[in-house]
């Protein structure tokens, strides 16, 4: 959980962000997937390829997983997975 507590100024300094750190309501673009094999393929099947815009929408009642809007669909992913997805933040 500590990722969410980080304050705004850090955003400038930090160079690589993970999807797990994206706060609900914010938008990012996928940079690359830091996983291989089956899991990578699963995510790609769902439309998670580099360059895809992702919006974090809301958390589940117990805090994990989080629902993301990807190519029009709402997809729930566990944190263990989103930790492995490297993103670039998009300023609105």
């Amino acid at each position: 959980m500590e990722e969410q507590v980080r304050t705004e100024p850090l955003e400038e300094e930090k160079t690589t962000w993970r999807l797990s750190e994206l706060k609900p309501g914010r938008i990012a673009v996928i940079d690359h997937l830091a996983i291989d094999g089956e899991e990578r393929r699963r995510l790609m099947d769902l439309g998670m390829v580099p360059g895809t815009r992702v919006t974090a929408e809301f958390r589940s009642a117990l805090g994990d997983p989080v629902a993301f809007r990807i190519r029009g669909s709402l997809i729930a992913l566990r944190k263990v997975q989103t930790r492995q997805i490297v993103i670039k933040l998009v300023e609105e």
Binding site: E39, R40, R42, L43, M44, L46, G47, V49, P50, G51, T52, E57, F58, R59, S60, A61, L62, G63, D64, P65, A67, R71, S73, L74, I75, A76, L77, R78, V80, Q81
Partner: protein, 475 residues
Amino acid sequence: MSEQATTPEELLSRADALRGELGDSHSRFIEDIYQQAAEVADKVVSQTGQAGRFNLDRALDRVLTSPVWGLPIMVLMLGVVLWLTISGANIPSGWLATLLLDWVYNWLHTAFQAIAAPWWIEGFLVDGVYLAVAWVTSVMLPPMAIFFPLFTLLEDFGYLPRVAFNLDRAFAKAGAHGKQALTMTMGFGCNAAGVIATRIIDSPRERLLAIITNNFSLCNGRWPTQILIATIFIGALVPPVWSATASMLAVLGVAVLGVGLTFGVSWGLTKTVLKGEASTFSLELPPYRPPQILRTLYTSVIDRTLIVLWRAVTMAAPAGAVIWLLGNIDISGVSIAEHLVTFLDPIGWFVGLNGVILLAYVVAIPANEIVIPTILMLTLMVGRAAGADAGVMIEFDTARETASVLVGLGGWTLLTGINLMLFSLMHNPCSTTIMTIYQETKSLKWTTVATLLPVVMGLITTGAITWIARALHLV
């Protein structure tokens, strides 16, 4: 041109070599598809109006998955469905019982006597086959005709994936897959269907957890048992206005306990024989869709309720025949049923049940639906033979009259009722489900585990409760 492979092994090693040379060009292939898809979609789709519904969906999700309201709403929804089922089924159940167990039953006896049929034909057909069918119908039809449509409405609305979304973390903690929540809710209809539904779980270990624990979802054959017993023993403890609510809370308690057992057993298996990490989870949350209420009512009554009822009837008819035979074939002056019940009674007493209940669960291995008819028929036969209220014609128009049979003839107490509700939650799956488990797992070992684990748990639980109650002199 390279030479062509002539054996499968050569083919595989050549593919392997090429893969090494290629790097991740395959990923690029998928990326290309998506890029293409995005370009095409961009060209052919245009947003001309308001995207209003997305916002409504978002607002609904905010509430239904909220950290504060998400879980209470879930329990509340199940509670409301059960309350509507229990209070709505009460009156039609009474009508059906009057019609089938009173009028038609007596008319059949009159008719058989009019044609002077031998007593054993009359008994076999009317007191055996017909009675079991009539009982199963009046106990099952009304609650299922209410429960299934309500459940289908929730399903068509799009609520089930939200349940999976909300519970996922708990499943992850138990080492299980979040989609197990979906197969669990399918089990609320039928466990065999729930077991087949586990195909959506791609990790074999987690799929096995989902299969083994599906039996902790009360199925259509067990909801009516729960409802009837709760109405008789729990609903009767409070003033009549509160009876439906008290019964609902009791059944809800058992259902929620079932969900708890699903977590607990998954966790236990993960820590012992099915060791492993929770794998990944990705679930698409579909948009909420306003259900087509009339069509849902129609299809869930025709396609589900009647099909389920038909299965129950085809199971009840032979079971009724068997029970009648057990009750009417004597060995050294005492019926087989009595021999069996007398033999099982001490074991039943030890775990807070009784011989009739244990025998009923053996007879009802093919289908949970016939537990209640079997219990009632056996109680009547054995009770009467034992001399109590001999010759009294008992009517079952209301739950209270059913209660008088169980309490008066069968000697049931509140503890027996509670234990039966628990044992109904925790006992072996029906034979159809066992066969399905074998087909899906292709493993005798896991089929055996899935079959025996719940019975052992059930007997230990009811036994423990009974001995604690006895130690505290509650009974």
